[in-house]
């Protein structure tokens, strides 16, 4: 089972790195914000797998905190980088 956990964790890590390519490339700001979403799910999955593999249930708390806080970064993205009251024509295109 150990092998399976690590294999899946490695696969997810590779997935994450592939997803980072989109974040690097853009092209719009929203694409970069997707990284928060990507990390929110993938890292939680990796953490849960590692918790099971290393048999330390405390690591599930890390995943819990992560699941909670990924939303904060995403909300910061939406509220701060793209404030609603600054609509402008420059962004079209």
């Amino acid at each position: 089972m150990q092998t399976l956990y690590f294999a899946l964790a490695l696969f997810l890590l590779l997935n994450l790195c592939a997803g980072m390519w989109r974040v690097l490339r853009g092209p719009t700001t929203a694409d970069r914000m997707l990284s928060a979403q990507l990390f929110g799910t993938t890292v939680v999955a990796i953490l849960l797998l590692l918790a099971q593999a290393s048999d330390s249930p405390a690591l599930r708390d890390v995943a819990l905190v992560f699941a909670l806080l990924a939303a904060v970064t995403a909300v910061a993205f939406v509220q701060r980088v793209w404030p609603e009251d600054k609509e402008s024509e420059r962004d079209r295109g």
Binding site: D61, V62, L68, A71, V72
Partner: protein, 326 residues
């Protein structure tokens, strides 16, 4: 074998993200990459069998650093009147390295390679087995009043450090305030979904913080982690338009900010009188004293982090945001 592959991949991922974050031409991209870097660090802590550190990094890295940096970047954009939300938001010309001569740049790279080689050699030549202080901590764990060695070190054996750290946090707030103070801002209506999100998540955050504080005695968790989670709850509330009442911003705020450091000092003086030594708890009461200290420290850390975010994100935005529009 797979573990090695995972660790190597993670190490290279960290280095790659740091490199790209520090050298991409667009500041917004750099910050996104830096946030991603912080999140991957949490995985590294897990692999290094440091769940306490992983919890702190997850709470700070995922919740606070990102929000702080993004808020500062947004204000910087408003000040220097750059387009914040375009495709390449900050192609700052000065973000490029200054055009030093090839010789000096080559010399720098040579020096830095030499230093990395030196560090690698230093780490390599250390004995591969060293117990450090783990045996001493384990021997005195029963007297500390808690079962988690990291909490025992933080709140009991090295209580001095934590006391001074609370003061550092206080100093940071004082420093930020002395740069301009807090501007009172009106509450802003936000999207219904965001309001629902923050209304639902805030109680969950508070529950999670209380849980982390409570389990910190015997399992990974404790004041720093709980404080960071609670501080992130404050950041979420501030982001979704909530503003503290003016009345709350006077002495209740100051009391909350100083509660942690004050509790340490008072308890230290008390133990100085009773036990003749600063911050040496009587063994029977140690558990309760640590819980009291930790609760107050949690409140202080949370309020400090939220106030730091509030100051960085909303200093003089109203003044410079308007009027400068082209």
């Amino acid at each position: 074998m797979l573990q090695w592959a995972f660790d190597t991949m993670l190490g290279f991922g960290l280095l790659w993200l740091a490199w790209r974050a520090l050298n991409s031409s667009d500041l917004f991209k750099a910050i996104v990459l830096f946030i991603a870097f912080g999140l991957l660090m949490a995985l590294a802590w897990v692999r290094l069998n440091a769940p306490d550190v992983a919890l702190a990094e997850a709470a700070i890295g995922a919740g606070l650093t990102g929000a702080l940096l993004l808020a500062a970047l947004a204000r910087l954009g408003a000040m220097t009147d750059q387009n914040v939300s375009g495709a390449s938001a900050y192609p700052v010309p000065s973000a490029q390295p200054p055009a030093g001569s090839h010789f000096s740049r080559g010399l720098l790279i040579l020096l830095l390679s030499a230093s990395v080689a030196g560090m690698a050699y230093a780490i390599w030549s250390l004995p591969s087995y060293a117990t450090g202080l783990s045996m001493d901590v384990a021997a005195h764990l029963d007297d500390s009043g808690v079962g988690n060695p990291v909490t025992a070190v933080l709140l009991n054996f090295r209580g001095y450090d934590t006391m001074l750290e609370m003061m550092v946090l206080l100093l940071a707030v004082l420093g930020v305030w002395s740069l301009g103070g807090l501007q009172q801002q009106p509450e802003k209506p936000v999207a219904a979904v965001l309001e629902t999100l923050s209304r639902f998540l805030t109680p969950v955050f508070i529950l999670a913080a209380a849980y982390l504080l409570w389990v910190g005695a015997d399992a990974p968790g404790g004041a720093f982690q709980a404080g960071s989670v609670l501080g992130a709850a404050g950041v979420l509330l501030l982001l979704s338009g909530w503003r503290p009442r003016v009345r709350l911003m006077q002495w209740p705020l100051r009391l909350a900010l100083t509660a942690g450091a004050g509790a340490f000092i008072l308890l230290g003086l008390l133990t100085l009188l009773l036990e003749k030594q600063f911050l040496t708890y009587p063994v029977a009461q140690a558990g309760r004293m640590i819980l009291l200290l930790e609760s107050l420290a949690t409140v202080s850390i949370a309020v400090t982090l939220a106030i730091l975010f509030l100051s960085v994100s909303s200093g003089h935005k109203e003044k410079s945001g308007k009027g400068e529009k082209k």
